[in-house]
Structure formats: C-alpha cells, structure tokens
C-alpha cells in the first residue's frame, strides 16, 4: 500500500487549462510552430514598416528591373514581371491570406457555436432543419461552391471573410451540437434550470465554456482549411483579384513566368506550405495538451 504524504494530499488539483498550459510549455515542436506563425504574422502586420525601411512598395512598378533574382540589390527577394518588389508583395499577401483565414475562422466558429448550441439544446424540428441544411451544404463540393460564389459576387477581402464564414461553419456546428446534446442532461445544467436560469444563460454560460477546449482545436483545423481554400481559389483566378497580392494569386501569376523567374513560383508556395504545416503542428499539440486521456 502506498503511503500518502501530507503535502501530496493537499496538492492543488489541476484544471484542464492549467494542465494543458503545463504540457504545451514542454512541447517543443508545437512551441516552435507557434513561434513561426507568430513571426510570420508579425512580419505581415509590419509589412508597411518593412517596406519603408527597405524603400520598396508592393504596387510600384520598375519596368527596368523586371524578373530580378533573389538577392538583387534593393530587392532582397527579387522582383516580378512588372518589376514590383517580391518581398513586400509576399508580406502584403501574407496580410491578406493570414488575415482572411484568421478572421473567417473566428467568424465561422462564432456562427458554428451559436447554431450548434441552439440545435443541440432545443432539438426537434429546428435540429432536423439545421442538420438537413448542413448535409446539403456539405454535399456540394467545397471548391465548386466557393468558385461559383466568388465568381458571382467577386468579393473584396472583407466580403471574402463573410463568404468563407458562411460556408465554413458546419464542422463546428456538428461538434458543438453533439456536445450540447450530451451536456444538457448533466446535473449542473439541471441544477441551473432549477434555479431559474434562462435557456440562453444555460447555453452560453454553462454549456459552451465546457466545449471551449474543443473549439480551440477546431479553430486551428479551420485555419488550415481556410488558408488552403483561399490560396486555391486565388490560384485558379477567382477570389481576391490583382493587383492586391495574396499568396494564391501570386502563384497564379507566376504560372506564366515559370521559365524566366522560378523564384516567383517557389516562394509563395513555400510560405503557404510552411504556414499550413505549422498550424497543423499547433493543432496536434493542442489536441494532445487538452486530451484528458493522455497521462503526464
């Protein structure tokens, strides 16, 4: 029989969050990925500053300096077919690509949580209707749907966020709906009901906080999907239109100059892949950190 020492007996219990934080701090790959994403994001946010510093502009054309290679004086990452600075275009493109993905992920998460909580809590006809709608929306191939919507509306970047959010909320809704469905029969929910809490209060003060850890994981998955979708869309010529740079439409543009300037094709793709790779790692790390079944 194991003796329990006094100090062990009074060891404060760890909450889900504090344990997750503890695990994350020791998870080197995830930390490295978080650092990379933070670095990329801050570089993108600081793009105007960096542009001033190097005296380059993403839209300024220098027709005498077309197709400069990587490392050319004044243009660290070369120039494109119109002599525009590639580095600043990549950074500004990052602003759009990362910005759209992040904003759309948050927005679709909000829609997903609200719809999922209502569907799971009330059930019945509302639930059936929402499930039917989700099945229907998911049955139209995602890219087909995105392409026809963007072709029809030719949205600006903020409108693009809306389009992605309107299409992308279904996964979160399914998750939250299922969780709400099982959580609403727990004792603490019944207790809250007995004390006269309103439905809204039960949903958003008692149920949603309990699915929060799931949501953080699903946020990273959503961002991966959105970055890939946005760049795929811009790549085939829909989505954000030139001259506004995004990583996707820069790749599309580079298609025509593959022979003359391969660096125009390699760098945007590398950035997309790296971003997606890092967010995958973060998502995996978060899933492990929040998994109650994994012992320390």
């Amino acid at each position: 029989m194991k003796m329990i020492r006094p100090e062990e007996q009074f060891k404060p219990s760890q909450s889900l969050w504090s344990r997750a934080m503890f695990r994350l701090r020791r998870d080197r790959p995830t930390l490295a990925a978080m650092f990379m994403i933070a670095l990329l994001a801050s570089l993108a946010v600081l793009a105007p500053l960096i542009g001033d510093l190097l005296d380059v502009d993403p839209y300024e054309q220098e027709l005498r300096n077309k197709y400069l290679e990587v490392g050319a004086p004044g243009h660290p990452l070369g120039t494109d077919e119109l002599g525009r600075d590639h580095l600043s275009r990549l950074l500004y493109g990052g602003q759009i690509s990362l910005g759209i993905a992040f904003a759309a992920a948050i927005l679709s998460l909000c829609i997903g949580v609200a719809v999922g909580a209502f569907a799971g809590f009330y059930g019945g006809f509302l639930d059936d209707f929402i499930l039917w709608f989700i099945t229907t929306l998911n049955s139209i191939p995602g890219l087909f749907l995105l392409i026809i919507i963007t072709a029809v509306l030719s949205p600006s970047p903020p409108a693009m966020v809306l389009v992605f959010a309107i299409i992308g909320w279904t996964g979160t809704t399914r998750l939250v709906r299922a969780e709400t469905y099982s959580l609403k029969q727990r004792d603490y929910v019944i207790a809250a009901q007995a004390m006269g809490a309103s439905d809204l209060r039960i949903m958003f003060a008692h149920i949603v906080p309990n699915v929060f850890s799931l949501l953080i994981i699903s946020l990273s998955q959503a961002m991966v999907g959105l970055i890939l979708a946005e760049s795929a869309l811009s790549f085939i010529g829909f989505g954000i239109q030139a001259p506004t740079p995004t990583w996707g439409n820069m790749l599309n543009n580079a298609l025509d100059y593959m022979r003359r300037a391969p660096h125009l094709m390699i760098l945007p793709g590398l950035l997309i892949s790296m971003t997606v790779f890092c967010i995958y790692l973060i998502g995996d790390g978060l899933r492990d950190a929040f998994d109650p079944k994994i012992a320390d």
Binding site: W132, L143, V152, L251, M258, M265, G269, Y280
Partner: protein
C-alpha cells in the same frame, strides 16, 4: 439491410433538392441578367426588353422561377407572343428530367451532353488517384504499424504531415517545372532524352482527331496528375491505416484468436484486416468527395479536360447553364459517394444491426 439501403436513398432526396435550391439561389445573384445576355444588342428598345423579360420569366417570384427550372413548364401554359396572356404549352422540361437549358457558348447544346463528354475524363483520373493513393496509403500505414517507432514509422509520419501541408496546386507546379525543365536539362548531357519534357505536361492525350485513343496508349498522360493528386490521399490514409492497424493488433479479440490457436491466415483476414479496414469504408466517401472538389485544381494545372475545367470555362464565359449543370452533377456524385460509403460501412461492420 435492404431496408437500410432504401432508407438511406430516400434520405438523399431532400439533400438533392436542397442542393438545387442553393445552386439556383446563388446563380440568381449573378451579374448580367439573362435578358441582356440573350439580346446582345445594346440598342434594344425598353418594350422589347420587357417582352423578352416576361417571356423568360425573370420577373416572376423566386420560387416560381426555381420550380420552373426544377420541373419545367411543359405542363402549363406560357406566354409566347408576349401579349400578357398564356397561350401555349411550355417547352422546358426542367432539370429533374435532364433539361438544364442550352449552353450559351456552345450554341444550343445540352449541358448534360457536354458534361457527359467530360465526366469520363474526371472519373478516369480520380479512379487512377484512388487506386494509387489507397494502395500505397494502406500499404504504408500497415507497414508503419508493424514497424512502430522505427525509422520507417517516423519517416512516414513526417511525410504524411508534409504531404498534407503542401497544396496540390503548388506541388503540381513544382512537378511541371521539375519534369518539364530541370530533369530534361540534367539528363541531356548524358544523352538521355533530347531536352524535351520527359512526361506530358498536360492534357489527356496527344491532340488528335476523333477523340482519345484507348487508355493504355496514353497512360503516360495520367502519371503526373495522378501522382500530384494522390499525395494528399496517401498522407491521410497512411495515418488512418496506421492508427486502425495498431488498435486492431492490440485488441483483446486478436489475442483471443491467437490463443485459440487459429491459423495465421484466419487471424489476420477474419479478425485483423476486417476490423482494420473499417476506416476504408468510413473515409472512402470523404476521400472521393475531396477528389471531386479538388478536380478543379488538378484539371486546371494539367489542362485535364474534365468537369472541373468545364466549370471554370463556363464561369469565365458566363455560360450559366453549364455552370449550374456542372455544380449539380458534382453534388449528385458527392451524394452518391457518401451513400456508397455508408452502405459499405454497414456491410463491413457486423456491429451495425438493422
């Protein structure tokens, strides 16, 4: 079992109706009203425009227009001489009977015929991708489970994450540059090749009259698009199979089967593989669906003349009947994909009872 299949098929009907509703709604928002698309003359008089509009029914409420598109108007009287009174039977059969109107660009052709011509190419490519992707993904996954923790396992894990992160469109471009430019240049000094691309960089077959030759004569056209598209499939499936195989190997019934002294073959086939292959049935649907969506990208990069490319061309030339038909057909394929996947799952998994 039959009951389950029938129920599943019936469940698909409201989904299909919903798809048509969503597609029709989106296309209604399209710029350029059909009247000005049909009457290219900018000097068209307002009253003529009005007559054309009433003939096309663009002033009717949304649901009337939608229903006419869905089930046609040959069962009701429509106004053909624009006097405001219905006088003749309509001649539109509606998409439920395969009438998607006629293509604007290919004057008068039925969009379904055009899609039928292209569907073969899309399905051919995706079957190749499924064959290559599933066979290598499953093999890699099983081997990774067998050699768990060893170099092969770690290597394939990294490979899977990287393969998942690299977007197909970029990989396709890299493949084109490598096989089209770099490799021929590297090989030329050694007298291999003539500096020309080693593999075809696009298309489904050499540009010849009278359609493509049989598949075995143009299999080299399939190589690049298949490999590029299959990488994602391999990445996902190798991990799926590894997890599923590990779970199976360590389960109690496998130990029981061994303890009972069953033959190896019996253990692996009846107890092991049948359980480990379950993700196959569950994820076959989503994989297929993902491939259909992704076909737009792959077909665009490799100019593969499939439905995805038809959709893109249709959007560029604002050929809306083609666009709507491609999206609806793509969605129908998706629904069928999910249906087959669900039915397979029910067939394979003895734990599901009806």
């Amino acid at each position: 079992m039959q009951k389950y299949i029938i129920r599943r098929v019936i469940q698909a009907i409201p989904t299909l109706l919903g798809i048509t509703l969503i597609v029709y709604f989106i296309m209604l928002l399209a710029p350029g009203d059909p009247v000005s698309l049909l009457a290219f003359d900018p000097k068209i008089r307002p009253d003529e425009r009005e007559r054309l509009a009433s003939q096309l029914g663009v002033n009717d409420p949304f649901f009337v227009q939608y229903l006419r598109w869905l089930i046609g108007d040959d069962w009701m009287m429509v106004d053909t001489n624009y006097d405001g009174e219905a006088d003749a039977w309509g001649d539109n059969y509606g998409i439920l009977r395969g009438d998607f109107g006629s293509s604007f660009k290919f004057r008068g052709s039925n969009p379904l015929t055009l899609i039928g011509e292209r569907l073969g190419a899309t399905i051919e490519l995706n079957i190749a991708v499924l064959l290559v992707g599933l066979s290598s993904g499953i093999t890699i996954g099983v081997l990774a489970a067998v050699y768990r923790g060893r170099f092969f396992d770690k290597f394939t894990r990294i490979f899977a994450v990287v393969g998942d992160s690299v977007p197909a469109f970029w990989l396709g471009l890299l493949a084109i540059v490598f096989f089209g430019l770099i490799l021929p240049r590297m090989l030329e000094p050694y007298g291999i090749g003539t500096g020309r691309p080693i593999l075809p960089m696009g298309g489904r077959c050499p540009p010849v009259r009278g359609g493509c030759p049989p598949i075995f004569e143009r299999i080299h056209y399939l190589i690049l698009p298949t490999l590029v598209s299959a990488l994602g499939v391999v990445a996902v499936w190798s991990r799926l199979m590894r997890a599923s195989m590990l779970e199976t190997i360590n389960s109690d019934y496998m130990r029981t089967a061994r303890a009972k002294g069953l033959s190896d073959r019996n253990i692996w086939v009846k107890h092991g593989l049948r359980n480990a292959i379950l993700p196959f049935t569950v994820f076959l649907g989503p994989t297929f669906v993902g491939l259909i969506g992704g076909s737009v990208i792959i077909e665009r990069i490799f100019t593969w003349p499939g439905v995805g490319l038809l959709l893109l061309d249709g959007l560029v030339s604002r050929d809306y009947p083609i666009v709507m038909a491609s999206v609806v057909i793509g969605s129908v394929l998706t629904v069928i994909g999910y249906l087959i996947s669900d039915i397979l799952y029910a067939l394979f998994d003895p734990r599901i009872r009806f």
